[in-house]
């Protein structure tokens, strides 16, 4: 547990350093978008690196959204635009792909979108150089987004922030977690049912016990999504669960090779329920047409 004095002392030191370096004070604690009006959305970078429960470290980019407006996941769905974040780190530091939390399913049956209301954090995994970890680093974050209610606005932020490298335990703003890798038992296959190619996802039932099951597809040539977000009924024999996803499999359209199943599997509808990033090459792809 950190003493209340430490952040203050660190902030003061960082403030002096920032003044000397010409970094605006505002960027230390309550960074706001620079170079663009902060309409509807405030984007900020938390002043400390975050210690994640798996031991990794992340830079936290926080979005606060005006009530009744919403922003979008990396796949916005039928409309909207993806929230994009990039972070430039000092030499020797490495950054991973930004992670967005499990999105809410928004909109109507006619227009399904995936995104966030109120607040959410984008986590940028960072790894410090082995031999040199200064007390703080200067990070440059670029973000752009679309925020909508009954109309839409685009926004962008360009932030230069001095961030403490003394990582503090991450306190999520949402009960909703972040998508994780699929359990190893999950398999996808293309099968034929009454002359129709269908896509089946199967897995050990115990590996993903939460219900209902929903799926948010990425656009993939050769796999045409027939719509909807489920829930899709799972056929469970006690050991294995089989889920038929409403794709039309059109292998002739898969000009870049066998289509990979990509998207997000949502298990359960409660906020803390898990979600999994899916990127599988289905087995048993028929080599000839119907």
């Amino acid at each position: 547990m950190k003493s209340w004095k430490l952040p203050c002392i660190r902030t003061c030191y960082a403030g002096v350093a920032a003044l000397l370096l010409g970094v605006p004070m505002a960027s230390l604690r309550d960074a706001v978008p620079q170079g663009a009006p902060a309409e509807r959305v405030t984007c900020s970078v938390l002043p400390d690196l975050a210690q994640m429960s798996d031991g990794s470290t992340a830079l936290v980019v926080r979005f606060n959204i005006e009530p009744q407006w919403h922003m979008y996941w990396s796949n916005p769905g039928d409309s909207g635009a993806a929230t994009r974040v990039t972070a430039a780190l000092p030499r020797g530091w490495t950054g991973g792909a930004p992670r967005l939390p499990r999105p809410q399913i928004l909109g109507s049956a006619d227009e399904r979108t995936y995104g966030y209301e109120k607040t959410f954090d984008v986590l940028v995994p960072v790894v410090a150089p082995v031999d040199n970890e200064p007390p703080s680093i200067l990070v440059r974050v670029q973000a752009d987004w679309m925020v909508c209610k009954d109309r839409c606005q685009t926004g962008k932020a360009s932030l230069s922030v001095q961030v403490s490298t003394e990582a503090v335990p991450y306190t999520p703003t949402l009960a909703r977690g972040y998508p994780t890798k699929l359990p190893p038992s999950v398999r996808a296959r293309i099968d034929e049912v009454r002359g129709e190619r269908v896509l089946l996802l199967s897995f050990a039932s115990a590996a993903i016990p939460q219900r209902p099951l929903r799926f948010v597809p990425d656009a993939v040539a050769g796999l045409e999504w027939l719509g909807g977000t489920g829930p899709f009924p799972a056929i469970d024999n006690g050991r294995e669960t089989s889920l038929r996803l409403p794709f039309k499999v059109v292998l002739e359209d898969a000009v870049d090779g066998p289509p990979r199943l990509r998207g997000l599997l949502l298990a359960g509808d409660r906020e803390g329920d898990p979600s999994y990033l899916v990127d599988l090459l289905p087995a048993d792809v028929p080599l000839t047409g119907n």
Binding site: N75, P76, S79, E111, V193, R194, A219, R244
Partner: protein, 220 residues
């Protein structure tokens, strides 16, 4: 043995039908070739339309048979489509597309379709169409703006966002559906598709993920 095989086949068939029925799969148990399309689909006939333009003329798809037709759904108040310097039109990308289109195929035609409902943003569909034409004029690349106040044509195509592009080949079949340009702006999907069609080559990619504001349709 034979009985077991028959029983297994019956169980598998029933199971498949059960799964399909539970999911409400529209294709289950049907001949795929008889599937009716509720939106534009690649390699299928483009939905017919006849719409009045902001200029007072009537534009009918059938009149352009033998030509490549580009339809772009548009909204003047959408920051991805027509509003602001970052939009498709405000950034100059649309003008570049139309210039590239003319070079690729001088017979190709480009229409902007406005399916915004009456009353949205305090404007009628006709007023929104006029505002659209003004945005395009400022961008230096005016194209006919077609008015689709009831949204029937937009829904027939499955237009979801502004912008959202549908390209119809000279054979009347849908050849491309998606974004006009790539997210990084480096690839112009429209020009590439029209160039491929002109050369008699397949359009690749035939579909891309479009982003933008949802089309503000009138209630059905």
């Amino acid at each position: 043995m034979r009985f077991t095989a028959v029983l297994t086949a019956a169980v598998v068939t029933c199971g498949s039908l059960l799964i399909a029925a539970q999911q409400g799969d529209p294709h289950a148990g049907h001949d795929h070739s008889k599937h009716t399309h509720d939106k534009a689909e690649i390699a299928h006939d483009a939905p017919a339309f006849s719409l009045k333009g902001v200029d007072g003329k009537t534009y009918t798809l059938a009149d352009y048979k033998g030509k490549v037709v580009v339809l772009e759904w548009f909204c003047s108040s959408c920051p991805a489509s027509g509003r602001g310097e970052g939009s498709y039109w405000g950034s100059g990308k649309a003008a570049a597309t139309i210039e590239g289109l003319r070079k690729a195929d001088s017979d190709a035609v480009y229409f902007a379709v406005n399916s915004t409902k009456d009353g949205y943003d305090g404007k009628s569909n006709a007023e929104e169409g006029t505002a659209s034409a003004e945005v395009m004029s400022k961008a230096g690349a005016s194209v006919p703006v077609l008015l689709d106040a009831d949204g029937k044509v937009g829904r027939a195509y499955g237009a979801k966002t502004t912008p959202h592009v549908f390209i119809i080949g000279a054979d009347g079949k849908v050849a491309y559906i998606g974004a006009p340009v790539s997210k990084d702006g480096k690839t112009n999907y429209v020009v590439n598709a029209v160039t491929a069609l002109k050369a008699g080559k397949p359009v690749e990619p035939a579909t891309t993920k479009n982003e933008g504001c949802g089309v503000k349709y009138a209630k059905q």
